[in-house]
């Protein structure tokens, strides 16, 4: 099936935006923590899990979403949040712990929540999977044609919540798409040392749903597979499981020495960087010119810079506001 040009270009633009966002966050995160790294210091404290390299899985899903579709993402959520179109300023302000943030500074980068668009994420592995099932259950009960998308890492496929969620979704024939971001490492533990089979997509058969492997970190390949899964879900034909082989370009968290991955492996990821490969391909295929790419870079970088300025210039929450929002 033909892919509309604007989808191809939007996917690229969003990849540029995500990568630049992660680079800026990384730079700011480290700026006041070095030379002696102190995780609690600086403008952005705490753990920081960045998604550079994993853009294709997010942007390949994005064009198929409709307003109201629900997403649950992981502790590494920025790429998915940006692709779904969360308010970039308020999301960034949350990462900076500011009062203008999505959660008024209560959640931070692992706990971004938004009702419009419908987005949540979590710091616990596989925690969002049953929640996506519940969102899909609500859509079915309420007669909406929305779908729920659950993003999770390959490490999450060894949690009980993965198996329970797939079974429930299939049993109740719910409009949910499970998308595994396989970046090959659960922190330091390689997939082959943690998972009894090579491809988690094969696990779909145990739960009576289609399972599809996307072997390349390519937004177009993700786009095509997710399109079919979402169409199936919207048509009331039940859930699907998709596994995308992707790359986490940096450490599990910023400050991770990343000694468990070889230099060869890290170089191979850089060599196949999807942002560069996909951008070059769009130029080769005549979809973008070199000038277009430059314009996209400027626009996307400008949007990110503006969001960061907004966050930086926003006020801190009042300390005693820590006591608010425990109950509705």
């Amino acid at each position: 099936m033909e892919i509309p040009r604007d989808h191809l270009v939007d996917m690229y633009s969003t990849m540029v935006k995500i990568r630049y966002f992660e680079e800026r966050i990384r730079e700011i995160y480290f700026a006041d923590k070095l030379p002696a790294f102190d995780i609690g210091a600086g403008e952005i404290p705490g753990e920081m899990h960045l998604a550079a390299g994993q853009e294709p899985v997010a942007v390949g899903t994005m064009p198929h979403l409709k307003p109201g579709d629900a997403i649950t993402a992981t502790h590494r959520p920025h790429h998915v949040a940006i692709a779904q179109g969360l308010d970039l300023k308020r999301m960034t302000a949350e990462i900076f712990g500011k009062d203008t943030g999505l959660g008024h500074g209560k959640g931070g980068h692992m706990h971004l929540f938004s009702t419009e668009p419908n987005f949540g994420c979590s710091g616990i592995i596989a925690e969002g999977m049953p929640v996506a099932v519940g969102a899909a259950l609500a859509f079915k009960k309420l007669g909406k044609d929305n779908v729920a998308i659950s993003f999770f890492g390959e490490g999450a496929a060894n949690q009980g919540a993965f198996h329970e969620s797939l079974n429930l979704a299939s049993l109740w024939s719910l409009p949910v798409v499970f998308i595994c971001e396989d970046n090959a490492y659960a922190i330091s533990v390689p997939k082959e040392a943690s998972t009894a089979i090579a491809d988690n997509s094969d696990r779909a058969s145990a739960y009576g749903m289609p399972g599809v492997l996307v072997p390349d970190n390519d937004p177009v390949a993700v786009y095509e597979v997710v399109r079919e899964a979402i169409a199936r879900a919207r048509a009331g034909e039940g859930p699907s499981l998709i596994e995308v082989k992707t790359d986490r370009l940096w450490g599990h968290f910023e400050g991770d020495a990343d000694a468990y991955r070889t230099d060869e492996f890290k170089e191979s990821m850089t060599d196949r960087d999807s942002l560069v490969v996909y951008g070059d391909r769009l130029v080769e295929e005549g979809i973008l010119t070199a000038d277009d790419r430059e314009t996209i870079n400027e626009e996307m970088h400008g949007e990110v810079d503006e969001a960061i300025d907004f966050a930086r210039n926003s006020p801190d929450p009042a300390p005693e506001d820590a006591l608010l929002h425990v109950f509705a």
Binding site: D38, G97, K106, Q159, S188, A322, V326
Partner: protein
């Protein structure tokens, strides 16, 4: 103390040394958990152990806490002495059934026939803006549930001795290390995170509190990182002629109630400081102990400082507002003395 050159270690290295020495002495001891092998544990509790003991005894696991903690229970009831690591105590939610319905109850259900000699070690605590799923202490939650010992060291010496006691104990022991007492290079630490640790194996008894600082005017009973907050407060108060006794409880189960009562009978005033949620927790239990056992000795109603029953917020200003600190302890002590 001895004047000979004292070897100093961080709390983190004291823990890994304790495990290594017990593994050396007893082939039935092994460790399993996430990122404990090549990585050495996210907080370094198993640093160097993979090289020393190999992957058969230092077992990296999938992210399957129900599976591997449950497997530790089965190994423990079948002749081994496993140490399972739960990376953050906050992750207990995915595996709590194995912990409190299985690990903590098998011995009781069996009428004492079956023993579960295992250690479940885990990292706790906040103060570095890691938000509400990576910053809790939760020791009160576990201490509430019968059948497991709950050990929470505050310094390197105790960390080693309590870990060795935990491994040798025939009961399940939850061993909780606060990230702020470990002496990690990548986190702000209190200066007491490094201290004297004897090289030979030794034990610190589980269930015995320690007087971290003797005093006469107010008892400050606390645990883990808050011991250091209290010691800092003691330095401040001393300048104003106020003497506090800092009681390091060291374990919540068993709780050294005699030590609490002895100190309260001496000072007649009690402040309890905890980095756990306030209601239904350690502060209430310690105060109840004092009221039940030394009511007539109290010159003022006991007071407490704890997390004010909100999840741990991310933003630094919000988190620092809810955490205990030395200033709050100074103010709490003065308030008790004027009560």
């Amino acid at each position: 103390m001895t004047t000979m050159t004292e070897r100093k270690l961080t709390t983190q290295k004291a823990i890994s040394e304790a495990i290594a020495q017990e593994m050396d002495a007893d082939d039935s001891v092994f460790v399993l958990g996430e990122d404990i092998g090549v990585y050495g544990g996210i907080f370094g509790a198993t640093e160097g152990l993979l090289d020393q003991f190999g992957p058969e005894r230092i077992m990296d696991t999938p992210i399957s806490e129900t599976g591997f903690i449950g497997a530790a229970i089965g190994a423990a009831t079948n002749g081994l002495r496993p140490i399972a690591e739960l990376m953050f105590v906050d992750f207990f939610g995915v595996c709590m059934d194995q912990i409190y319905n299985n690990m903590a109850k098998i011995h009781y259900f069996s009428g004492g026939n079956v023993k579960v000699p295992m250690v479940l070690m885990t990292a706790a605590g906040g103060g570095y803006s890691d938000a509400g799923q990576h910053s809790q202490t939760l020791w009160g939650t576990f201490a509430h549930l019968p059948g497991m010992k709950v050990v929470v060291p505050s310094n390197p010496y105790d960390a080693k001795g309590l870990m060795i006691s935990a491994i040798r104990d025939d009961n399940p022991v939850l061993y909780i290390f606060h990230k702020g007492v470990l002496g990690l290079g990548w986190m702000t630490n209190n200066p007491r995170a490094t201290g004297h640790v004897p090289e030979d194996p030794y034990t610190v008894p589980i269930g015995k509190a320690a007087i971290a600082r003797e005093g006469t005017d107010v008892t400050v009973a606390t645990i883990s990182l808050s011991v250091h907050r209290a010691l800092d407060a003691a330095d401040e108060l001393e300048k104003e002629g106020i003497s506090i006794e800092v009681l390091d409880l060291r374990s919540l189960v068993p709780l050294d109630r005699e030590a609490i009562l002895d100190s309260v009978r001496k000072t007649h005033r009690l402040l309890v400081v905890d980095e756990d949620y306030q209601s239904f927790g350690m502060t209430g239990e310690v105060i109840t102990t004092a009221v039940e056992g030394a009511f007539d000795y109290l010159d003022a109603p006991p007071a407490r400082i704890a997390i004010p029953d909100v999840p741990i917020p991310y933003s630094r200003v919000l988190e620092q507002f809810v955490l205990p600190n030395a200033d709050k302890i100074v103010a709490g002590v003065k308030s008790l003395l004027t009560a």
